[in-house]
Every structure is written in structure tokens, then in C-alpha cells.
Point group: C2
Chain length 233, copies 2
DNA sequence: ACCTGAACACCGTTCAAGT
DNA sequence: ACCTGAACACCGTTCAAGT
């Protein structure tokens, strides 16, 4: 669209891997990963689709690259954080890093799903986890416990968790209230839980949970559990 | 392939949604989700691609259906489990269910990644979680804590967790040992941890972790944390 | 009711040719 | 060195036509 009307004042910006990847993120932000095609990507940077192949190996490389780019953004933010004042503050420091990562990824909703599909090890992901280990080591973790900790946290370390019930999917609208009664026979415990949770908070149904609060709840359970193991030695 | 040589003795099995979905699982088992195309699926059931559309709405429906089918398998298994002998055994019961689910999903490595992309609520997923809530309620959980618990568990409830470092990816081979030294400067904590973990278990590098043990470690941290919250009331 | 062939509008990617 | 048009081998899906 905007590729044609380039003012003659600014010279034609040459293509580069960086520029291609930033364009890829912009496209996915607007229309999801499905909208991210090589042809659309070329259009975004004002070139032909085949020109992209001089700067990225193929589409897989583009996807790997966008992941790396986003985690790079996260690293830029968390690297600026002050180190914890005392060793016992490791938990506070890790928590802050994870929530900062989450804040950035929340601006790129398509990214978490993409992570799962990437098998290439992203240097930026390595750097992020290296920082986490550093905090835990300073807080008194053994290398072995660090290792377990990374596995236990999994994708939560980067600020996201797989939501099996999508808020945007079916089940959050008004009709679901009526449907709930019909479902009560098949899923008594689930409907019972929802009825009570919804009673406490009228806005809350399965699709209307407070994602942020629930994420922090799960994160804290894990961090507290790790802290207890660290104390036990 | 095998669609042509149908012995005349057995009559032509008519197409059905169930048969299509089972074929879809078989294809994904063999070649991953990428191999699962409508044309390949048609071939597998011995029909033309367009015939599929009389039994499934579209490809999205096929993907939703395979997820539902797999969780259905899980439900069949866990529904046969005996209820816990005493209320305090809720944790043992939940643990057993989760590990049973994991056992089944490990036979379909492509499934977890697919889950993340599904927004439709699968009836079988609802049924599975309904059962989990039932166990927790019997164990003394409030509805509110059940709700938090499901969020905290996330995909772990179904027996999988996002592995950010893929064992099959780069980093597990012999060359990685040499690479580790070069990486030591950039990722000192990570390399330090790996060096020590590898010392304890020579086979173990970042790509060679004991997935099952690490999954259970994370699961137990969460279950223990929930138990503590339940006791606290 | 169920199945099919041809066709449409897309993909990612290769190749030979341009500057 | 960087970019491009045409072309290839695929996709999912629609449509009109068959039994």
C-alpha cells in the first residue's frame, strides 16, 4: 500500500535483515502470524517477494528472526534493572523480570504460539535465561536447582503460559450463561465452579478470567516452591 | 498409498467424520502437522480431497477435531481410575491423571503445539478439567482455589509444558561441547550451570535433559504449593 | 446423500535475467 | 551486490456436475 508513495526527499532505504524482521513483526501485530506471508512482507518493505531472499534464508528464518528480535527487546529492558539489594531478594528480581517480559509479549499476542513451533535456539533466549540463572545463583541456588527451576518455569520464565480456554473464543458472551445450565449435567464441577467464581465477580466467566492475576498466582506458586527448596539446601 | 489395493472381500467403508479425524491423527503421527494437508488426508482415506468437506467443515475443523479426539482418548483412560481412598489423596490422584495424559500425548508429539493454536473450546477438554475439579473439590478445595489451580497448571494439567530448548534442535551434539567454551563469555551462568549438570550426568547437556523427571519436578512444585494453600484455607 | 473433476486464488521458492 | 519477473509445485476451497 504505502510502498509506492515514497517522497523523493528521503532516499530509498536499502533492504536489510533488520528491516525485514521489523516489518514482519509489524505485519503479525496487525493481522496475526497467518497474515505474515513472504509476498505481504515484501509489499511492506516496498520490494518484490524474491528480494527478501537476499537478506533472509527462507520463511523459517523470518519466523526465527522475529522471535529473536522480540526477546532482544525484552533483554534490553531487563538488563537495565538494578541487581537485587540483598541475596534473599532473588525472588523479587526474577518476578520483576518475568513480568517485564510478559508486558512486552502482551503487545505481540501472536508471539507465544510462535515460540512453541521454533526449534532453533535463539541467542536472545539464551541470554535471557543466562540472566535468570545469574539472579538465582546470587540468591543461593545450586546449579542443579537452577536447572530444575528453568524447566519448572518453562515458558512462564518469558511471561506467558498456555491458556487452554481462549477468552476471545466461544464461551464468553451472553449466550454462554444460558448454555451453562445445559452444560451443568455434563460438567457439574466445572459449571459449579464457574457459578461461584462468577458470583464473586459478575464479569467473570471461564473466558473472562483476570489473566494477569492468574498468571501471577501461578508464577508465585512456582517461585515460592523454589525458594523453599533452596532453603532446604 | 494403500487406498488402491482394497480387497474386494471387505466392502468400501463409507467416509465419516470419525474416520477422517482418525486418519488425520495417523498422518500427523507420521509426518507432523505440516504433513497434514486436505489432499494428503483424502488420499489416506481413499477419496478425493473435496469429498472430505461433506464430513468436516474445513481444515480448522479437522485440527479442532483431532485435538478433541486425543483428549477423548485421555478421558477414556483416566475415567477408569479409582477415586482416591481418602480426601488427602487428591494430590496423588491429580498427579496420576496428569501423568496418564502426558503418556498419551507423548505418542503424539505434534499435539501440544497444535493445542496452543486452537481457540475453539473442545468438549473433551472441558470434560477432562471437570474431572480435575471434582478431585480437588473432594480434597477440600474451594471453588476459588480450583479456579486458580487450573490457571496455575495451564497446559501442565494435560501433561505437557512448553520446552523452550528443543532436544532435537541444535545444541545436543558433540560439537556443542566445543561451542560451549566459545559461548562461556556471552552466557557465563548458563554455561556454568551446564558444565556442572553435565559433570553429574555426562550424557546431560541443555538438549539432553530428562524431560520426564523435569516435568514431574515442575508439576510437584505446583501441586505442593496448591496443597499448602488449601491447608491454609 | 454422497462423491468428484476442473478451476480459482492463494502460498513458498527456484531460476535466469536484469542493473 | 542487489533486485526482479516469470514460472513451478504446491496449498485450501468453490462450483457445477455426476451417481
Amino acid at each position: 500500500m504505502g510502498a509506492r508513495n515514497r517522497p523523493s526527499s528521503e532516499p530509498r532505504v536499502p533492504l536489510s535483515r533488520e528491516r525485514v524482521l521489523r516489518a514482519a513483526v509489524a505485519i503479525a501485530d496487525e493481522g496475526g502470524v497467518r497474515a505474515l506471508t513472504m509476498r505481504r512482507l515484501a509489499e511492506q518493505v516496498g520490494a518484490e517477494a524474491m528480494s527478501l531472499y537476499h537478506h533472509v534464508a527462507n520463511k523459517e528464518d523470518v519466523l526465527d528472526g522475529t522471535v529473536d528480535l522480540l526477546i532482544g527487546e525484552i533483554n534490553e529492558v531487563v538488563d537495565r534493572f538494578d541487581p537485587p539489594a540483598e541475596p534473599a531478594d532473588w525472588k523479587k528480581a526474577v518476578r520483576r523480570r518475568v513480568l517485564a517480559a510478559r508486558e512486552i509479549l502482551l503487545r505481540h499476542r501472536w508471539a507465544p504460539a510462535l515460540f512453541e513451533t521454533r526449534s532453533a535456539v535463539s541467542p536472545q533466549v539464551l541470554r535471557y535465561h543466562d540472566g535468570l540463572i545469574g539472579l538465582m545463583r546470587a540468591g543461593g541456588f545450586s546449579h542443579d536447582l537452577c536447572h530444575h527451576a528453568l524447566h519448572a518455569l518453562g515458558s512462564r520464565a518469558l511471561g506467558f503460559a498456555q491458556e487452554l480456554f481462549d477468552p476471545s473464543g466461544a464461551g464468553g458472551g451472553e449466550e454462554s450463561v444460558a448454555e451453562l445450565e445445559a452444560m451443568a449435567e455434563r460438567f457439574p464441577h466445572l459449571v459449579g465452579m464457574l457459578a461461584e467464581v462468577a458470583h464473586d465477580d459478575p464479569d467473570s466467566t471461564l473466558g473472562w478470567c483476570d489473566d494477569q492475576a492468574e498468571f501471577e498466582f501461578g508464577l508465585d506458586i512456582i517461585l515460592d516452591g523454589l525458594d523453599r527448596l533452596r532453603e532446604a539446601g
